[in-house]
């Protein structure tokens, strides 16, 4: 392999790693909810769509950037509390599979509602981040991807601090650790769940803005849930660190496979390659790289 081919491979890998960060961004929303309530929230993708669509529509109606951000955040909070009240509370103590199927229904409702309210046309979203690539030692890196990675890192830092230093964060961890004990010491489960879904909504907003700026805000934005799922299984459903590491692995391997393997099989393998990687790892580690081991007790 000559030097330029090597540089090209590195460039592909770096590009893949950075897009992996974007996958992880979506996956983190799942992890937050799974950790505290044991629900695999399929509606996370539609929440991303809802957040991005609300934000971009507000901006198009002349609301300033910060105002639109706050209003969207308020909308996601309302959504979180509404979901807790109408879906989670009536389904309390039901099997995780039932809750998962409920979130499938929820995804349909949120997707439909978001497009009913704001219309189905494609919106362009400009966050004012340049997309010009810059060169580092012969490798071109997209500025936008780098900024996105920075924002993701900041978000993880904020989440970690939130979990470690705030009362609400502590109660999240208590509920995740042992729901019944948390209730026994007087934590209000309903409110905590609503707060967790709100936090996941905020994560969805960040993911929606970054993905929306890249792909345009439209229905297909909710399909990134399908990109996040293999990341999630690979990393383990209940680990934020896992989501990040798995996002990086999947992002890089997917891009490398598309470039070096794709031509042999006709290309377009991005749709399923991530699942294949996740499956292979799962066969060795059935709870993902960082997931909690399933213990069966009877």
């Amino acid at each position: 392999m000559d030097w330029y081919a090597f540089l090209f491979a590195v460039e592909v890998a770096v590009g893949g790693l950075l897009s992996g960060v974007m996958y992880a961004l979506v996956a983190i929303g799942f992890v937050l909810i799974y950790k505290t309530s044991g629900v695999l929230n399929f509606a996370q993708g539609s929440m991303v769509l809802f957040a991005a669509l609300t934000f971009v529509s507000l901006v198009e109606h002349g609301v300033p950037f910060a105002g639109a951000l706050l209003l969207t955040l308020a909308a996601m909070t309302a959504l979180g509390f509404a979901i807790e009240r109408t879906v989670l509370r009536p389904l309390a103590n039901r099997s995780p599979m039932t809750l998962f199927m409920a979130t499938l229904g929820l995804a349909y409702v949120i997707e439909g509602a978001a497009q009913l309210i704001w219309g189905t046309q494609v919106h362009r979203l400009d966050l004012g981040i340049s997309n010009a690539p810059f060169e580092v030692g012969g490798i071109f890196i997209s500025t936008f991807d780098l900024v996105a990675a920075g924002i993701a890192a900041a978000m993880v830092a904020i989440l970690t601090a939130f979990f470690r230093f705030t009362r609400t964060g502590l109660s999240f961890r208590a509920v995740a650790d042992d729901t019944f004990a948390a209730m026994a010491v007087g934590l209000r489960l309903n409110r905590i769940q609503a707060a967790v879904w709100t936090a996941a909504g905020a994560v969805a907003l960040v993911a929606g803005l970054l993905w929306g700026a890249r792909l345009g805000v439209q229905f297909s934005l909710s399909l990134i849930v399908l990109k996040a799922l293999p990341v999630l299984v690979l990393g383990g459903f209940d680990s934020i660190l896992g989501a990040i590491v798995a996002g990086l692995i999947i992002g890089a391997s997917e891009k490398l496979a598309e470039v070096y393997l794709g031509p042999f099989v006709g290309g377009g393998i991005e749709g399923w390659f991530a699942y294949a990687v996740a499956l292979v790892v799962l066969l060795v580690r059935p709870s993902g790289l960082f997931g909690k081991k399933l213990v069966e007790r009877f």
């Binding site: 109408t86 389904l91 409920a102 997707e111």
Partner: protein
């Protein structure tokens, strides 16, 4: 002591009689009386989706393994039948059996992870089947005889001098297949294999302890369920749509089948039929209603969105209020009717 007629257990239970009457109506009356619209737009998709729902119910309802890749197995069945017919020119029943076998083989491969994975990890990994199959069928022209974008057209459906190409013929063919498979599944789930499936669903470890071959049962459930869903795919492509592309078997179709199983009632046979009826009729009804009340002033796209919202709400409502689905509601209704007419 005289034995009155009432104390003798009837030779044929009432439920069997009801089903036989229903079948007689479906086989004899419907082809003569139903309008072309009813057959084309309601009965044909209903039959195909019922069969798919039945297949998934075997896997998810009875064996407890959630699959999000049902549409992929429908696609495998449809494309396999197309190719067996095109390349080998076998008689129709042989083609159908081979298509089901192919779907079973593919199902077996994608069922292998179930030996290691549980719950959500398994559900997500079944998505691999969904995306891989759709990709392969679109990417490799061989599967669709090199037609652009992978579209296949149904061949002429004929067997033993009978042609099933007319609307009524396709309906009768579809109905016969669905009836036969449903009968076989009914026999199966009420036999020892059905008990094995339920034991694996309810508690894997206990099932193993009492000597049920858990791994074999799981794989076998995957294969059988995929075979049935594959047949449903053949019906969908050959009797209902007549031309089909791989994109028609997308993730939304998989969810639709899962919804049929949930709304109808998991681990019941009639649930698949009730659920499919609701899923097929409901959008038509909604479109009619909006046409009636708003006189076409509502855009078709908006109606689609409303349909999505209502469907999602219905799913959640069923999960909350009636987790055992339409089947349980039907049970309650018949019980009430019976007590009304004093047959206690």
């Amino acid at each position: 002591m005289s034995v009155t007629a009432a104390t003798i257990r009837p030779v044929i239970p009432a439920q069997t009689i009801a089903i036989l009457i229903l079948l007689a109506l479906a086989f004899i009356a419907v082809p003569h009386l139903a309008s072309p619209y009813v057959i084309e737009a309601i009965l044909l998709p209903f039959l195909a989706l019922s069969l798919a729902g039945l297949g998934l119910n075997l896997l998810t309802g009875y064996a407890g393994q959630v699959s999000l890749g049902s549409a992929a197995f429908m696609a495998v069945g449809a494309f396999a039948a197309y190719n067996f017919n095109l390349r080998l020119g076998l008689p129709l029943p042989v083609t159908l059996v081979l298509a089901a076998t192919t779907a079973a083989a593919v199902g077996l491969v994608f069922g292998l992870p179930s030996l290691r994975l549980r719950g959500f990890y398994l559900a997500v990994s079944t998505l691999a089947a969904q995306f891989f199959v759709q990709w392969a069928l679109t990417k490799f022209g061989w599967f669709s005889n090199n037609s652009p974008s992978g579209v296949i057209a149904a061949p002429s459906l004929a067997f033993a001098g009978l042609s099933f190409d007319t609307r009524e013929g396709r309906y009768l063919l579809s109905l016969s297949i669905v009836t036969l498979v449903t009968f076989l599944v009914h026999r199966l789930v009420n036999g020892p294999e059905g008990v094995n499936l339920i034991a694996v669903r309810d508690n894997e470890t206990s099932a193993r302890v009492i000597g049920i071959p858990v791994l074999r049962t799981k794989l076998w459930a995957f294969a059988l369920s995929s075979a049935i869903i594959g047949l449903a795919g053949v019906l969908w492509a050959f009797t209902y749509l007549r031309t089909v592309e791989p994109a028609g078997f997308n993730l939304d179709r998989s969810f639709q089948i899962l919804f049929i199983a949930i709304i109808g009632g998991l681990a019941t046979i009639r649930g698949a039929f009730l659920g499919a009826a609701l899923i097929v009729v409901f959008p038509l009804l909604l479109a009619r209603l909006s046409g009636f009340f708003f006189d076409g002033s509502i855009d078709a796209g908006v109606v689609k969105l409303v349909e999505r919202i209502v469907l999602g709400t219905v799913i959640i409502a069923f999960l909350i209020a009636e987790p055992n689905g339409l089947s349980a509601m039907l049970d309650r209704a018949t019980r009430r009717l019976r007590s009304l007419f004093g047959r206690s």
